[in-house]
């Protein structure tokens, strides 16, 4: 556990400057937008007089210089205050905290699907590199990886919700069903089945290909040759020697994919009308809500850092070489 602590501390220290760059960069980017939150708010009101404009700018602190506002923003961030959403007229942090769990469920389930099915099919492909099964799976996974997630979502809706009526077309749960406990969990799982498939099936290809490549390399190693010479059963060699060694790099992939999946959830949540973090980003853009969009980008960066830290700790736990090397350096 000591090793994990050292790793955590080191990662947190090194991510502070990176996070600062993200904060300043995002702030400056959204600062340069023509018109500010007050303009957007006035449009939604249908206009207002000059006195109201000045008053609103003052209340949001928009009458001060950009640098002054940046320092104010960063010092507020340090107190976990992400500002005020103009479009929703609520604190940004509250909105994000409310929406984030839906997205985490979606991403978590999609990752689990992609990882388990992808590595399983990867083992099937890598068991006999160059075979017909291997080639078919390689081409098939490439084709799957070429599919836009939002389009796959629409096709799934068409087949499984409109034609077969197995799953609902949209939403996260049945509205006002009054379900509690396990019944509610089952209801949410039923609603999430299609969006999770739309997101997960695409990333499956990545794990499949990585597993397959790793296994093809492992087959050429001496210890595999030795296992074959010993006359071990093929199934045992495939699972215990070849696949086991190819599995570790897939864990790294989990971290690398976190950012891409978070981006992908924006479109998938819009297709399925899931009130999540990604849909919130789309709503922030539509409502020209700069404070909300800034908050979303910063929270997503923090999320990616956290996921990568968790992956690193898992990796260190799985591979004893990692921690010992870091301790001695």
């Amino acid at each position: 556990m000591h090793r994990a602590l050292i790793l955590t501390r080191r990662r947190i220290v090194s991510s502070i400057p990176v996070l600062l760059i993200v904060i300043v960069g995002t702030f400056l980017l959204l600062e340069s937008a023509p018109g500010d939150a007050v303009d957007a708010y006035l449009v939604s009101l249908g206009g207002g007089d000059a006195g109201l404009v000045t008053e609103l700018r003052q209340s949001y602190g928009l009458d001060q210089s950009p640098f002054k506002r940046l320092t104010l923003y960063v010092s507020a961030l340090a107190r976990f205050d992400l500002g005020w959403s103009v479009a929703f007229d609520r604190p940004v942090l509250g909105l994000i905290v409310e929406r984030l769990p839906n997205t985490l469920w979606l991403m978590g389930a999609a990752t689990a699907l992609a990882f388990s099915l992808g590595s399983l099919l990867g083992i099937v492909a890598g068991a006999r590199p160059g075979s017909l099964t291997d080639r078919a799976l390689s081409i098939g996974s490439l084709a799957l990886y070429a599919v836009p997630s939002f389009w796959l979502g629409l096709v799934l809706v068409l087949v499984f919700a409109v034609d077969l009526r197995w799953f609902p077309t949209a939403g996260i749960e049945t509205i006002a069903s009054g379900k509690t406990g396990l019944a509610r969990v089952a209801d949410i799982a039923w609603h999430l089945a299609l969006p999770v498939s739309a997101l997960g099936f695409i990333y499956l290809a990545l794990f499949l290909r990585m597993m397959r490549t790793g296994m093809a390399e492992a087959w050429r190693q001496d210890f595999v040759l030795f296992a074959r010479a010993k006359g071990l059963a093929r199934r045992r060699i495939v699972l215990r020697h070849v696949a086991r060694n190819a599995l570790l790099p897939l864990v790294t992939m989990l971290g690398l994919q976190a950012a891409a999946m978070l981006g992908g959830s924006v479109v998938v949540e819009s297709v399925f009308a899931i009130p999540g973090f990604g849909r919130l980003a789309h709503e922030a853009v539509a409502g020209r809500d700069a404070p909300l969009l800034t908050g979303i980008i910063i929270v997503s960066a923090v999320l990616v850092i956290v996921v990568n830290l968790m992956v690193d700790i898992a990796y260190a736990a799985l591979d004893p070489r990692v921690g010992s090397g870091e301790a001695s350096s």
Binding site: V22, A33, Y145, V147, V155, A259, G263, V267, V285
Partner: protein
């Protein structure tokens, strides 16, 4: 180079990828010749079914716009965005990576932290934010997607430069008094470039998909027909006319798959050449 080309046309992946892309490029190039008018113009009755009107082979959408004209012009937009994004991202990444690798020290440290910062923000969110600030036009979209794509080339270029700058011919250039900028541009960059260029396929494919997703969300260039916007438009009549969403999506799959297949075929052909030395 000839041998690489021959190996490429020998591999099934390479041939399949080439065929798909040649077909799509032909569609894109023929679009302004076959359909010189605005593909967003209303030309027939709304929701004409496909194969019922000889003048409108694939029918019309909800507003009466020609679907086939849209498809062909859409190929143009997708390929243009994909290639332009790759050009911008590779150029920017190679320059930043070379600079970081050659300068070393604080400059290197600072540039790499910027690369880290761009990598921890989901590329799609970054593109979304940039388009919402700068307004939706094709060039803004290219730049927005490149913002999330230049970090890979930058990292790779830096790693290549770090290994190349220790080689003898670079030391020789330094000894004969060549200017550092000249060394960077004439000795280091050309040798660091090939592995970086291998990222082209992934960048083009990602750019095509991201542009489609932006258009689907209504953030694409409103004056240009794109496959993403056609899918979004067809979504309104998904139950009655599903082909309006499905067909442009097939175009996207064909484009991205073609790019991946060609990329894989090329990579294999190059690897085989190196293997034989």
């Amino acid at each position: 180079m000839n041998r690489v080309a021959r190996r490429l046309v020998d591999s099934p992946e390479g041939v399949a990828g080439l065929c798909l892309l040649v077909l799509l490029a032909a569609m894109a190039l023929a679009a302004p010749l076959l359909y010189p008018g605005d593909p967003l113009a209303i030309v027939g009755r709304p929701l004409t079914a496909p194969f019922t009107d000889a003048g409108l082979p694939l029918g019309t959408d909800r507003l009466g716009r020609d679907v086939l004209a849209g498809l062909m012009h859409g190929a143009r937009a997708s390929l243009l965005v994909g290639l332009a994004t790759a050009l911008v991202a590779l150029t920017a990444g190679a320059l930043v990576g070379t600079l970081a690798g050659l300068a070393g020290g604080l400059v290197d440290e600072a540039l790499m932290r910027v690369v880290d910062a761009f990598q921890i923000v989901p590329a799609f969110l970054l593109a979304l934010a940039f388009v919402s600030v700068a307004g939706a036009s094709l060039s803004v979209i290219v730049f927005a997607i490149a913002l999330g794509a230049w970090t890979g080339p930058a990292r790779l270029a830096r790693a290549e430069v770090l290994s190349i700058r220790e080689r003898d011919y670079v030391a020789a250039a330094r000894v004969i008094g060549m200017h550092p900028a000249e060394i960077a541009l004439r000795e280091v960059l050309p040798n660091a470039l090939p592995p970086v260029l291998a990222l082209t396929a992934v960048i083009v494919a990602t750019a095509v998909l991201v542009e489609a997703a932006l258009s689907f969300l209504g953030l694409g260039d409103p004056n240009v027909v794109t496959w993403g916007s056609m899918i979004a438009e067809g979504r309104n009549v998904l139950r009655t006319a599903p082909h309006l969403s499905i067909v442009p999506g097939l175009g996207l799959v064909a484009t991205v798959l073609g790019v991946y297949l060609l990329g894989e075929g090329l990579a294999n052909a190059m690897a085989a050449r190196e293997g034989r030395g």
